[in-house]
């Protein structure tokens, strides 16, 4: 998603950072995500010819990396 300059309001940099830290780093439980993927598209990577590690690497810039890297 977007990473424009408006990503972080400059008027409250401390508040901004605290909120980012409070709301980051939550991933779906692995067993849940694997089960749901099977229900949606079949086994992990079976149609893609990929292993689970490759599938995880496909994730969009994650919550943690977005929040860690966003400008303040």
């Amino acid at each position: 998603m977007g990473h424009e300059a408006d990503q972080s309001p400059a008027r409250n940099p401390g508040t901004d950072q605290l909120i980012r830290e409070a709301l980051c780093g939550l991933d779906a439980p692995a067993d849940f995500r694997d089960d749901l993927r099977r229900r949606l598209v079949g086994g992990p990577g079976e149609a893609l010819g990929l292993d689970a590690g490759s599938l995880r690497d496909m994730q969009a810039p994650g919550l943690r990396s977005q929040q860690r890297d966003a400008p303040h």
Binding site: M1, G2, H3, E4, D6, Q7, P9, R11, N12, G14, T15, D16, L18, I19, R20, E21, A22, L23, C24, G25, L26, D27, A28, P29, F32, R33, L36, R37, R39, L40, V41, G42, G45, A47, L48, L50, S54, L55, R56, D57, M58, Q59, A60, P61, G62, L63, R64, Q66, Q67, A70
Partner: protein
């Protein structure tokens, strides 16, 4: 390779190719789940609503048109509508769940978990509209423009509401000396 394709291209392929949808799922399942967890404070409900979000997206993938609204924002709109129905059905205040939200299961992702919980408690005290805004902005990493598209507001209106919300949060944080804010 499918994994390297843009969201738009994957959406186009996903109408006929489940594997393409699988890539979109992998890209966004954590973002959808975290949003729903913070809105429900329940792992079970977050999982149920995450599943519903993706099944609804899969069933309506042909309806998505890439005109200004990114796929991720479209997905979050589905999640938002589902969680709104969830709260309406349960006659809960939308802001209530976060107040009781503890740490997610497993190792704490936070360097200062108590601080993080205190901040979440403050966010939970916000009106639902502002809570939604903060989650889109900080939990989902959406830009003001994306939030504006998703919520049918102007970018200026989003910025203004965000500024007021952050100012209010800052005031609340300053009343808590244990926090850095």
């Amino acid at each position: 390779m499918t994994a390297a394709l843009s969201d738009g291209e994957l959406v186009r392929r996903a109408t006929a190719d489940r594997a393409a949808f699988g890539v979109l799922y992998e890209r966004y399942v954590d973002q959808v789940y975290s949003y729903l967890y913070y809105r429900t404070a329940s792992v079970a409900d977050a999982e149920d609503l995450t599943a519903r979000t993706f099944f609804q997206a899969l069933n309506h993938i042909g309806d998505y048109e890439e005109r200004g609204l990114p796929f991720a924002a479209w997905l979050m709109t589905i999640a938002h509508n589902l969680v709104a129905n969830y709260h309406r059905d349960r006659s809960r205040r939308v802001i209530a769940p976060l107040e009781s939200a503890g740490e997610p299961a497993g190792p704490s992702p936070f360097a200062a978990a108590e601080d993080a919980q205190a901040v979440r408690d403050l966010i939970a005290e916000l009106p639902p509209e502002r809570q939604h805004l903060i989650l889109l902005k900080y939990a989902q990493g959406m830009s003001n423009a994306e939030i504006a598209d998703m919520t049918n507001r102007s970018v200026g209106a989003v910025k203004s509401l965000l500024r007021r919300t952050l100012a209010a949060l800052k005031r609340d944080l300053e009343r808590r000396p244990e926090l850095r804010g």
